[in-house]
Symmetry: C2
Subunit: 189 residues, 2 copies
């Protein structure tokens, strides 16, 4: 059993999560255990990119414990609805995928109930759940080696930038004669 | 002119960006000026959600300066290819959109060249660009009030969770009889 999460003790990491994520999220805390495991499996000094298979919680664990962030493009979210993540060497695409192994949860009822949403959030015993995540550590996780498909390794370039003829804002020319917002994609009324 | 970015001096924020984002990214630094402006325009104490109109750089400025993160769901990326972001009251959807106003860049050649990608990244004078962002502050920004469309205000629920019949991992039942990865969506070979 490994008692640390990246450079932090378990208790320290819970506080780091609260500061960044806004509350002591069980998903980000368990995600931290997962990222810590994946980092240890990767060759030391490898330049890693990350994939989160859900937008919920896990991206924050990756952003707190690796150099990968949403804004620098080294973290991708591919929403498969799975509580799993992978780290991989960014050019070759070789790496590891870490997931919660449902077969290993029989002694961890709080984690089971939370993962399968068997109790409403308001009735969940958060403190017991977080304590159980700390006790469980990596024992509830599975890990396998993966090779990321070529199409996910390419860096997208946005190409040349022009001013949109309609709104005047800088936008990627490849999007068409006007920007995507002026094409109807704006989220605002 | 406002010399601070959230709780930081400009110089402190450059260091915070380097620590989180991995390098002194001009986009995240300018994004910080934008978030700081938007925060000031929002009513004090409002519970804000955020939209970034590009996945590049801006999400990290939002995550560093607001409670909104990718993992807690309070930050959305709607990729319109525009260097703009909005903060809005999370229930009513009223808020502000901040963008770089190309009309205001005539005295800021480094920002202009960077925004329109007129020089290759390797030839860019990063120090001069960052200094110019510090000098420019909010003077190169535009701001307008916005109302976010209703469809973006709803909280998505993933519904009930089952074990996938094929891989055995917990997944949202609403995705079908097997999880999206087993339906062919996996990014791994």
């Amino acid at each position: 059993m490994n008692d640390t999460i990246g450079p932090y003790s378990f208790e320290e990491f819970v506080k780091v999560v609260e500061s960044f994520h806004g509350f002591q999220s069980p998903g980000v805390i368990l995600g931290g255990v997962m990222v810590d495991y994946a980092l240890e499996e990767m060759a030391n000094g490898a330049l890693v990119d990350a994939i989160c298979e859900t937008p919920a919680c896990l991206p924050d664990a990756v952003q707190l414990l690796t150099p990968c962030t949403l804004g620098n493009g080294w973290l991708k979210v591919i929403n498969l609805g799975l509580f799993a993540l992978s780290l991989y060497e960014k050019r070759a695409g070789e790496g590891v995928r870490v997931f919660v192994d449902a077969e290993k949860l029989s002694n961890f009822r709080e984690i089971w109930k939370w993962l399968f949403k068997l109790v409403p959030k308001s009735e969940q015993d958060q403190a017991a759940l977080i304590a159980e995540i700390g006790q469980a550590g990596r024992s509830v996780l599975g890990m396998r080696h993966i090779q990321v498909k070529q199409q996910y390794l390419k860096k997208r370039s946005r190409g040349a930038i022009s001013r949109c003829r309609t709104c005047g804002e800088p936008y990627p020319e490849m999007d068409g004669p006007v920007c995507r917002a002026c094409q109807g994609g704006s989220p605002y009324v």
